[in-house]
Each structure stands twice: as C-alpha cells, then as structure tokens.
C-alpha cells in the first residue's frame, strides 16, 4: 500500500512536467501579444512595448523561455504577469473561492444525486422514478449558462423585489455560506443528473446479482440488503465518476464563476486567456492537473475500502 502510494506520487512528476510543457508550448504557438493585450483597443506604444518585451524576455526563443520558466518554478517562483503581479499570489488569492465552491457543489452532487438515484432505483417504473428521469434529462439538456442566468434573475432579482432577499445576485464574501449555495447548485447541476442516473442504473443492476438474491432469501431486512450488500458494490462506478468530477468541478467553474462574479480559478483562466498571459495559464493548469492526479489517487484507494477483494501492492 505504502509502496503503491509512493509509486503513484513519483509517476505524477513526469505528468506535471509534460503538462506544463504542453500548455507553455500551446500558449506560445497560439501567438497573441501580451503587450498589445495589455494596451487593449489602442496600439501599444512601440517603445513601451519594446521595454516590456525586454523586461519579460518575450523576444527569446521558445525553449529559452520555457527553461527560464522551469528553473523559476523549481525555485518556487511561478513567474510574474506583465502588470507586475506574482502568479503565485494570483493563484493563492483565487484558489480558496474555487475550493469552497467545488466543495459545496460536490456535496450537493453526492448527497442529492446518490439519494435520488437510490430512491428511483428502488421504485423502478413508479412515479418518482419517472420524475427523476425526466428532471435529470431536462437538466442535462439545458446549458449551464442558461440555468445560471435564469435562476440568478428569478431568485436574485425578482424574488428580492417580492421582499425575499436570500439569494444574492453576485458573490459577496460577507454573505458567507449563503453566497455559495446558488452557484454551487448551478455548478453541480449537470453532474448531479449524471450521478443520479448512474446510481439508479448501477443499483438496479446489483440488486439483480446472485449475492443480493441470497441475502434477500436469507430473510435480511430490505434496508440492510440495500445499504450493506447492494449499495456498497454499486458505489464503485459512482465513486469513479465523482472523483474525476472533482477535477472538472474546479476547472469547469469558468462559466459559473463568471455568472456569479466569483473571483476564483475560473475567472483567472478566462482573464489569462483574454490577456495572453501564458505564465498565469501554465500555473493554473498545472495546479488543476495536480488536483486531478490527487483525486484519481484517492478514488483508486477508495476502491479497496468499498471492495476488499481489491488489493494494492
């Protein structure tokens, strides 16, 4: 187990290196001129632009730039944006908001999704099952930005006019947990639908398995059959999905964060792309790769807990 863990962690190093190289190469190949992007719709003054290019070594060949970046990273320096801000600062400022948002979304997704899935599976073909199937289909087919804007308008603006001021239109730190509720739900919505449907199918399948039939034949109470025998096995694909989803929740928050004005990682990515800030992009994406790797590792370890037949060496 310990050796397995260490091996997996060592494997992460080339993955991270490859990821930074790829992103760095892509932003470089895409072209774009960060100096001009900074000046907006007016032409950057040639002399000012030249001074900035020199200061940030933008005229160097790609490999030299990448090497400089890499040696900087090894010394704990993730680089600086053209307007003089440390990339590390940008990330540490933005990261907590995205983590909070992802946790809220993840909790909604896991709790509501699994519960609804179980209920639908146990009442197969009945009204509740139909309701779950139709509502999840609806959620999957509407794009997130539509759901986001509609709920923002209905709950944030219209409801406030009626005197019910609970869902803020945009994010305010002073609102605490309340501020994450609606955006968290929006962020979770699509995956929530998938988790529900996955749980339903997976549980229905395990309920037909021989060992469950045996458990029922033994006369065990239904609750025990479902929770202790069927669900435990049925959870394996769900945990896999949830684990992979944690990564995409963090990276995929671009739209949700934008709608609710949460200044997290999503906003940072959007800003970096708009301003051709390659160093910011590489830093953020590397971080996201790290989150993916960790989430996957945790998922793999959870398998053993759920199914003791799985062992790692």
């Amino acid at each position: 187990m310990g050796r397995y863990l260490i091996r997996r962690l060592i494997q992460a190093i080339p993955v991270l290196l490859g990821a930074t190289f790829l992103i760095y190469f892509l932003t470089f190949a895409l072209g774009g001129d960060p100096v001009q992007a900074l000046a907006g719709e007016k032409k950057a003054d040639p002399l000012v632009a030249a001074m900035l290019r020199e200061k940030y070594h933008l005229d160097d060949p790609f490999l030299v730039q990448y090497w400089n970046y890499l040696t900087g990273v090894l010394q704990g320096n993730l680089g600086e944006t053209l307007n003089g801000r440390q990339v590390l600062d940008l990330i540490t400022e933005a990261f907590p908001y995205t983590v909070n948002l992802a946790i809220v979304a993840f909790a909604i997704e896991a709790l509501v999704g699994v519960t609804a899935g179980i209920m639908a599976a146990l009442r197969r073909g009945k009204f509740l099952d139909q309701l779950v199937l139709i509502s999840t289909l609806l959620v999957i087919s509407i794009p997130v930005f539509v759901t986001g804007f509609v709920l923002q308008l209905l709950l944030g603006v219209e409801l406030k006019e009626l005197g019910f001021d609970f869902f803020p239109v945009s994010f305010n730190e002073s609102d605490g947990f309340k501020a994450y509720l609606l955006p968290g739900f929006i962020l979770a919505s699509t995956s929530l639908a998938y988790v529900t449907r996955l749980t339903r199918t997976s549980l229905m399948e395990t309920m037909r398995a021989d060992y469950v039939r045996t458990a029922v034949a033994k006369g065990l109470p239904r609750r025990r059959v479902v929770v202790n025998h069927a669900l435990r096995n049925a959870l394996i694909p769900i945990v896999t999905f949830l684990g992979a989803d944690l990564g995409s929740l963090m990276g995929g928050a671009v739209i949700t964060e934008n709608i609710f004005n949460i200044n997290g990682i999503g906003g940072l990515i959007a800003q970096a792309i708009r301003l051709d800030q390659g160093t910011v992009l590489v830093g953020v994406v590397t971080l996201l790769v790290l989150v993916y790797l960790l989430a996957n590792l945790i998922v793999d370890l959870l398998y053993a807990v759920l199914d003791p037949r799985i062992r790692y060496a």
């Binding site: 000046a39 907006g40 002399l47 307007n83 239109v169 945009s170 004005n261």
Partner: protein, 540 residues
C-alpha cells in the same frame, strides 16, 4: 372638544409640513442637500497599478478620476477644459507654458500639491526605464528624447529639460514644437501629480495610491474584488457628497446589470448588450444615453495595397455604398450613431454633416464611381476584424452592402485578437480593408487627426493605412502653432477637410455611452471620457 383637538392636530401638521418644505428648499438652495452614505458602482479589473502615468485603459482611469485632480478638468457638457488645480495656464507662443497652481490642494497624506509634485510625476512617466503606458504623452516636452532615447539605449537624463520649477506654486513647460492644445491635453491622467511617497516604492503606491482628489483610498486594492474609497475631508475643490464608494469588480456585465436591478450596486456605466432592448423602459429617467468619444472606421491599406485602394474614387465609392442608418438601427439597436465627421460629435470643432456626399448613402453614385475607377484587381476585397470584440455582425453587414451595391466579392476575415490584426497590418502581411476605432485621449479636434492620419502616426500611432499628405501635415503644424483657440480650431477643421476629401479611413459610426443607476442615488453624470462623476452623486 373633539373638533378642537383635531383642528389643533391639523394646524400642527401644516406647520410641520411647511417647516419641512421650507427646510428642504433652503437646503437645495445651498446646493448641499443630503450628504453622506455609501454606494457601490461597477468596475472591471484595472490592468496596471493605479498610477496616472501608467494607465491607458478606462477601468484604471475611472478609479484615478476619483482619487486625483489634474491641472484641468473637462466640462461634462461642452468638454471644454476648465482649470482645476491650476490657477492659470498661460502662453505667448504655444511653445512655452507657464502654469500657476491654486492654494490649498494637498495630497491625502497632507503633503502640499506643489509644482514639484507635477514635475516629479512627469519625469517618471517620461523615463523609458519605467515603461509607463503614458510615455508617448511626454514626447512633446523638450528633453524627452534624453529620457526615452529608444530601444537598447540608456536614458542620458532623469529630468525633462523642458520643465522648470519657478517657485513652489509655479512651473514652466517648454515644448519641442508649439502645440496649441497643450492645455486641453493636461486633463489626461498621465499628467496627474504624484507625492513624495511615490518615489519610495512605485509598485506599492500603485496598490494604494495617495492622490489629491475628492476621494482617498479606504484600504488597499483588493484585486479582482473591489477598490474602496472614502471622502477626502480636506479637499480644496468641491467636496464629495458621499461618504464612500466601493468599486466592485465584475468580469461579466450581465451580472453587474442584474445586481443593479436588485439595487445591490447603484451605478453601471457600461450596460451589457442584452440590456439594450429593455433598459429605457425599466430605468426611465435613470437611464443615461449620450454620445461618447469613440469613432468606428473601415480602414484602408493605401500604402500596402495601392492597386486596390490607392484611388480616392474607390474609397469614396465604398463609403457611399455603406448604409450607415440601417447599420446603426438594425445591428446596433441605436447604440451607435451614423458618423458624419472624422471628429466626434462631443468635441469642440465637430461639424454636423461634414462628410457631405461621401457620408451619404447613395448606391447608384457609388456604383458609378466604382466602375469609372475600374474597380479593384480580381474584383475581390477582404474585410478584417478581431473576433474577440463583437464586430462580426456589423462587418458582415458592411460586406453584404458592398457586395449588393458595388458588385464586388467581399470576404470578412476574422483575426483572433485585435493585436494579431495590428501585427499583420504593421508587417504589411495583410492587404485587405480592416475595422478600426479611435477614442480620444483628451477632448481636442487635433486628437482625432494627428494620432491617426499623420506621417508620424505610421510608426507611433494608428495610421495603419500608411496615408501621407503634406498639405495635411502643414495645416496641422500651423494649427498647433496658433495661440488663439478659435483660430486653431478653424485650421484643424481645414485639415479635417483634407481627410474628408481623401478618405484614408471611412468613418462609419460614432459610439454612444449607456449607463443606468438605481433608485437610491441621484445627480449621476457621465463625463466625456465615459467616467462617472462620483463627487457629485448623492443618495436619494
């Protein structure tokens, strides 16, 4: 008994009411109604530290406008310069300018605003080592070449030769060449003063600047979140009415607009396109819709592609084949107006209908001109635009109009970013027509001509067409020399006439600014540069 009491009450109520109205009218008469309170307004994340010399974009300028007061200010209606920190700005020859400062202005830390605080700021901005975005603004001052000798060279001086401090309240500025619009230019944020504290650590200063304006920083800039300012009590000009203003930073204007509707924020000075259809109904009087400084053009690469765009008849035909009215109505929902001069309608010197025939939609005449001139090689033109700025629709509409009216094959060509298009134009790799826009730095007719159509603007400005005309240069120089404002405007208009004759670019529309504010505030005004005049805003 009962009647008597109620009569007493009524009388009492009348007295109270009268007292109240009397009170309120007298208050309005004094010009200081209710003061105090805090509001929140919209902002986008500024691109640079909050230093006037290093800010060339509108978001940072918005905050700087609240924190700093320059030598001159502009009238919100006429856009004429009016003295602010300056007591007087005089010249005999438009070359040497004597600037006297008013008493009483201090920085937020108590330091006096003296001649040195301007000289300090301008010397910093003019030095290429600091790579400040406002650098080109100082190039007119004598000695600027020593501070900005060019790439791969070191500055040989740290002070502009042309700046001389006479006494604490007076300094003189000597320009390389006479420039009649210098006073007007001084309202731009690159010319704001800086206190001594700036020199210690410019970078830190940019996070929490110490200004001399009606508001001072309330804590440091919280990046991507907000910038808070509060009233500066010792301000020598007319004090701000509000206690404080929070600039809340948004990435998405639709969200800001929804926050405005929920009265979470009070002023939005950049409305999202999605709001345009309903905003006037929803906000009524609280919707401000006025012309702003921007002009949108179709640019023509005269020097790179003379075979196609070298003939003035071709350029005029293109201009006359564009139905500006239809474009602004159907594509822009009236958020733009048809352009009828190269100079924006809000600028002193603008003439209504100056474009004349060239700006009038006349497909028959256009086709005639086009055929007479022999059209373009291959009967094909490209129309470039940047895809990141919402230009696709109008460019496609123009392409269709040209196709229909001139019978020419027009292909819209998207560039991923504005910078990509500029690079290709600069390298002479792109030979098609292109979209272009200009918004002023300072409200002078000159600012709509020299930075875009002069010879020097080929390398240093926005002359991407490579247009050169000696007659135009001469008139501009003459206008720059003229001391009398009215006479100089006449000369700039003559230079404008040459551009109108030659049509190096084709003006298509002028921009309109649209803002709205919530019920809880009043006295909201937007200035010519599209900034909120926050010092005058009051709570309702």
């Amino acid at each position: 008994m009962r009647g008597a009491t109620s009569a007493k009450w009524v009388a009492g109520a009348v007295i109270v009411a009268m007292a109240a109205t009397a009170c309120s009218t007298s208050k309005e008469g004094d010009g200081k109604a209710k003061s105090g309170g805090n509001i929140t307004v919209v902002l986008g994340e500024p691109q640079h530290g909050l230093i006037g010399q290093n800010t060339a974009e509108s978001e940072g300028a918005e905050v700087l406008n609240a924190l700093f007061t320059g030598l001159v200010d502009y009238d919100n209606k006429t856009n004429e310069p009016k003295l602010a920190v300056a007591e007087s700005i005089d010249t005999q020859d438009s070359k040497t300018w004597t600037i006297k400062l008013k008493d009483g202005y201090t920085f937020h830390n108590g330091e006096k605003v003296d001649a040195q605080s301007f000289v300090r700021a301008w010397n910093w901005g003019a030095n290429q080592e600091n790579a400040a975005e406002g650098l080109p603004f100082f190039s007119k001052i004598e000695g600027s070449d020593e501070l900005a000798p060019g790439k791969d060279k070191k500055p040989t001086a740290t002070e502009l030769k042309g700046l001389k401090v006479v006494d604490e309240k007076t300094f003189t500025v000597t320009l390389k060449q006479p420039f009649s619009q210098f006073k007007t230019m001084l309202g731009y944020n690159a010319f704001y003063p800086l206190p001594k504290a700036f020199e210690a650590d410019p970078k830190k200063f940019g996070e929490a600047p110490i200004g001399n304006g009606p508001f001072q920083m309330d804590g440091a800039w919280e990046h991507n979140k907000q910038i808070k300012v509060k009233r500066f009590e010792n301000y020598a000009g007319s004090k701000a009415k509000l206690d404080g203003v929070t600039f809340k930073i948004y990435d998405n204007l639709d969200t800001a607009y929804n926050d405005l509707r929920a009265d979470t924020i009070q002023i939005v000075d950049k409305l999202p396109t999605s709001a345009m259809a309903t905003v006037s109904q929803e906000f009524g009087e609280r919707y401000i819709y006025k012309p702003e400084s921007g002009v949108g053009y179709v640019g023509l690469p005269i020097s790179t592609n003379p075979e196609a765009f070298g003939k003035v008849e071709i350029r005029k035909a293109i201009s006359m084949a564009i139905d500006r009215e239809a474009l602004t109505k159907t594509i822009f929902n009236n958020t733009r107006k048809p352009a009828d001069d190269f100079i924006s309608p809000i600028i002193p010197g603008y003439r209504k209908g100056a474009l004349g025939e060239a700006g009038t939609y006349n497909p028959a005449k256009a086709k005639e001109l086009w055929t007479q001139a022999g059209g373009v090689p291959g009967n094909k033109i490209e129309l470039g635009y940047n895809a990141d700025g919402g230009h696709k629709e109008w460019i496609e509409a123009v392409a269709n109009q040209l196709k229909a009216n001139l019978g020419v094959e027009v292909t819209p060509k998207p560039f991923a970013k504005f910078g990509d298009m500029l690079t290709d134009l600069g390298d002479k790799k792109y030979k098609g027509a292109f979209r272009m826009a200009w918004s002023m730095d300072y409200p002078a007719a000159e600012n709509y001509l020299r930075p875009i159509f002069s010879k020097v603007a080929i390398d240093h400005g926005s002359n991407y067409g490579g247009y050169v005309n000696e007659e135009f240069e001469k008139l501009m120089d003459e206008a720059d020399k003229t001391v009398d404002p009215a006479a100089s405007i006449k000369l700039y208009q003559q230079a404008d006439d040459i551009i109108i004759r030659d049509l190096p670019y084709i003006p298509v529309f002028t921009y309109m600014s649209s803002s709205a504010y919530s019920k809880s505030v009043k006295n909201v005004e937007i200035d010519a540069q599209g900034r909120m005049d926050l010092a005058n805003v009051e709570l309702n």
